[in-house]
């Protein structure tokens, strides 16, 4: 029963990531990213409750602050200045949806079946941690996919945020004993990186009049 909650949340986080990557309207994308972050927060909180690890509550609080409040606010604030429609990605819509579907299924199945190769302990090899871990790897893969195939700077930043979320989920699944200061450091770091990237992107928008990273070709030599 208790495992089901984590498995459901892991699947939810996968679906929201896919939607956030695939949507063409940048505002809706940011909205789905917010939803994804709320699910991430729920996973950490549920994990803390189910595994009776109260130190994780501080972790979920920091996650709430950085991932639910700071990063989406930044994305909304900056996205207001940019055009709301995404620049045409490298792949067409149909192909992209198909590819991403295959990617999610293959990644998830692969990591679920072979989690023993990477999981150093017994707990991580059994449900629900196994599914959580598989979900985490898949979110990481999705983020990387978004980075590689999207040309819009907002989508690129989103891809980066997804990759980081994947790593944080792996951290939760494999090493929840992490000290608070370290965890706060890692989470704050992502927010700062997003801030700097969006700041530079808005400068790029002012100068180039576009948020299409393919336009950044001044230095290709």
């Amino acid at each position: 029963m208790e495992g089901n909650i984590l498995v459901t949340l892991s699947l939810g986080i996968l679906i929201t990531s896919v939607v956030a990557v695939e949507l063409r309207n940048l505002r809706s994308t940011t909205f789905f990213y917010l939803f994804h972050s709320i699910l991430l927060f729920s996973i950490i909180t549920a994990y803390a409750y189910l595994f009776k690890n109260p130190s994780l509550y501080l972790w979920s609080a920091t996650c709430f602050l950085t991932k639910i409040i700071v990063i989406p606010t930044l994305l909304f604030q900056f996205a207001k200045r940019f055009p709301s429609k995404e620049h045409r990605p490298v792949l067409g819509h149909g192909i992209s949806v198909l590819a991403i579907g295959v990617l999610v299924v293959v990644f998830f199945r692969l990591f679920q079946s072979y989690s023993y190769l990477l999981a150093p302990n017994e707990v991580a090899r059994t449900e629900p941690v196994r599914s959580l871990l598989a979900g985490a790897f898949t979110v990481f893969g999705l983020g990387l996919w978004a980075l590689l195939t999207r040309r819009d700077v907002v989508k690129t930043v989103l891809g980066l945020a997804l990759m980081e979320n994947g790593v944080h989920l792996v951290l939760l699944a494999l090493a929840p004993q992490l000290s608070e200061t370290t965890m706060i450091g890692i989470l704050t770091n992502v927010a700062a990186a997003v801030l700097i990237l969006l700041y530079i992107s808005s400068n790029i928008y002012q100068v180039f009049g576009s948020t299409d990273s393919a336009r950044l070709s001044e230095l290709k030599r």
Binding site: L117, L118, P120, N121, A124, F140, L147, V153, T156, L160, M163, E164, V167, V170, L171, L174, A175, Q177, L178, S179, T181, T182, G185, I186, N189, A192, A193, I196, L197, Y199, I200, S201, N203, I204, V207, F208, S213, L216, S217, E218, L219, R221
Partner: protein
């Protein structure tokens, strides 16, 4: 074994520049006219004095810790912190006139000059934090901090090219470092499981005791991720795409910082983590050797075809940092010694070369294309001499410092019987010599060029003393270390032993 002393000094090293940065920024916000350059310089000189003071304690056989054991300064940290403080000070001395002239030209506003000095101080703080932290994941956080502190410096001019360079720089390095974080998380998770009683799984000083117990598949995957991440930070091929852009579009003193110090953090992190696994897994050594060899060749071939002086130097950094990786990756005493020696030498030489280019750009009004320059030696003999010393040294010619460290690395590779890698590194050395000396000849000794965009010969004159000072000091250091390499031996030996001590071989003699 060394004795552990507790002291607040390492913490001061981290906090002082950060507070200085905040102070400088606040003063400018309040529109108070302050001599920012002098203020920054004073803070940095104090920082340097503190770093030397701390290093003296470490070199006398102690390990200094602060905040419990969260911050730990051993031989390697001491070497790096002195190097950082020394270089940033010299670079700031040169920044004064250079940035003031750029500002006078109207490239950026007065307020942004304040931001410049704030960011330099912030960068110094994050560098110090990176080299003194004893926590594996905090190492990641501090390295990211250093990337973010320099991001706005790369995009400083806010031109099309510099914004593009800044965007690429942050994005690629942050993504690369995310891979490294992934690797660190895997190692941490495994270490928590397999550590012996009483070992703290995140401490860099203790991770070596767990390393051999970590299952092979986890260790190798994590090593691959971490090497890729640190190689991105260091700018190795194929993760180098950000480096030539960032180095060529940043203000020239910042290029010297990036090439001299930032990319060395990748090497530092490698020596603290991946090197520890090298003795257990031979595959790690071969993987790093292949990566470095490819990077050496690509870097130098790209450098050879550049017409832009700064881009040429940037590509040469791609090639030179590979020597460092190769040496460190071997995990032997000689390898690590050579790698760290080359860290010191390359920092000195690359900062010297970039600052000489800065002097050329200052004198010519910003010309940096080799095809437009020529005959500068007559008007700028001191800069010409310094650049030439740097070129010979980077090319690995005796009696300059580059020769000694490169030779040590060749020996270390030979010791491991990786003869193909040795051949590649020797060939790269020769190509570097050709590339740099040929560039020096064209810029300083060939007939002045009569092409569009070439500087007016009659207006050329040697740069002011404050700009010459830094390059002359560095050029003299190149010769001094080349002729008397043993003056660095105590510091390098202590640093090498600090790396070896992590996996319990600190007592072994070379």
């Amino acid at each position: 074994m060394s004795e552990t002393v507790s002291s607040a000094l390492p913490l001061v090293l981290v906090v002082l520049p950060v507070l200085g940065a905040v102070f400088t920024a606040l003063l400018s916000l309040g529109r108070v006219r302050v001599p920012r350059h002098s203020l920054t310089l004073v803070i940095l000189v104090v920082e340097l004095a503190l770093a030397v003071r701390l290093a003296a304690t470490v070199w006398s056989g102690h390990r200094v810790v602060a905040v419990g054991e969260a911050i730990s300064v051993d031989g390697l940290s001491a070497l790096m912190s002195v190097l950082v403080a020394f270089m940033v000070t010299l670079i700031t001395i040169q920044s004064g006139r250079y940035m003031a002239k750029e500002q006078a030209k109207g490239v950026f506003s007065e307020g942004r000059l304040a931001l410049y000095y704030s960011l330099i101080l912030l960068f110094t703080g994050t560098m110090m934090w990176t080299v003194t932290t004893n926590n594996m994941l905090m190492l990641f956080v501090a390295m990211e901090g250093s990337t973010l502190a320099t991001a706005l410096l790369v995009a400083f001019y806010r031109s099309r090219a510099s914004l593009e360079a800044g965007y690429k720089y942050v994005l690629l390095v942050v993504v690369g470092m995310t891979f490294a974080l992934f690797g660190m998380v895997l190692i941490f998770a495994a270490a928590v499981q397999f550590r012996p009683e009483g070992i703290h799984a995140l401490r860099l000083t203790e991770i070596g005791m767990v390393a051999p117990r970590i299952p092979k598949n986890i260790a190798l995957l994590a090593m691959a991720f971490m090497t890729a991440g640190f190689a991105t930070k260091a700018g190795l091929v194929p993760f180098h795409a950000w480096l030539p852009d960032a180095h060529s579009e940043a203000p020239t003193p910042v290029s010297a910082l990036l090439s001299g110090l930032i990319i060395k953090l990748g090497a530092y992190a490698l020596s603290r983590t991946v090197t520890i696994f090298a003795p257990t897994y031979h595959a790690v050594i071969v993987f790093i050797a292949i990566l470095s060899s490819a990077s050496m060749l690509v870097g130098i071939f790209m450098a050879l075809v550049q017409d832009d002086l700064k881009r040429m130097l940037a590509f040469s950094s791609v090639s030179q940092i590979s020597y460092v990786f190769e040496g460190l990756g071997l995990g032997t005493y000689v390898g690590i010694y050579g790698g760290l020696f080359h860290v010191v030498n390359h920092t000195i030489v690359k900062a010297l070369l970039f600052m000489s280019v800065g002097a050329v750009m200052y004198a010519t009004g910003g010309v940096r294309r080799i095809s437009r320059l020529g005959g500068l030696a007559k008007k700028m003999p001191i800069t010409a001499f310094c650049f030439f010393v740097g070129a010979l040294s980077l090319g690995g010619l005796p009696p300059f410092n580059g020769f000694v460290s490169k030779f040590t690395i060749f020996l270390a590779i030979g010791e491991e019987r990786l003869y193909w890698a040795m051949a590649i590194s020797i060939v790269t050395g020769l190509l570097t010599l050709a590339c740099l000396v040929w560039a020096a000849y064209r810029v300083f000794w060939r007939k002045p060029q009569n092409v569009e965009g070439a500087p007016e010969q009659s207006e050329l004159r040697e740069v002011p003393f404050s700009m010459r000072f830094s390059i002359v000091v560095l050029a003299l250091l190149c010769i001094l270390i080349g002729v008397y390499p043993h003056i660095l031996h105590p510091a390098l030996d202590s640093a090498t032993r600090a790396v070896l001590a992590i996996w319990g071989r600190g007592v072994a003699t070379p």
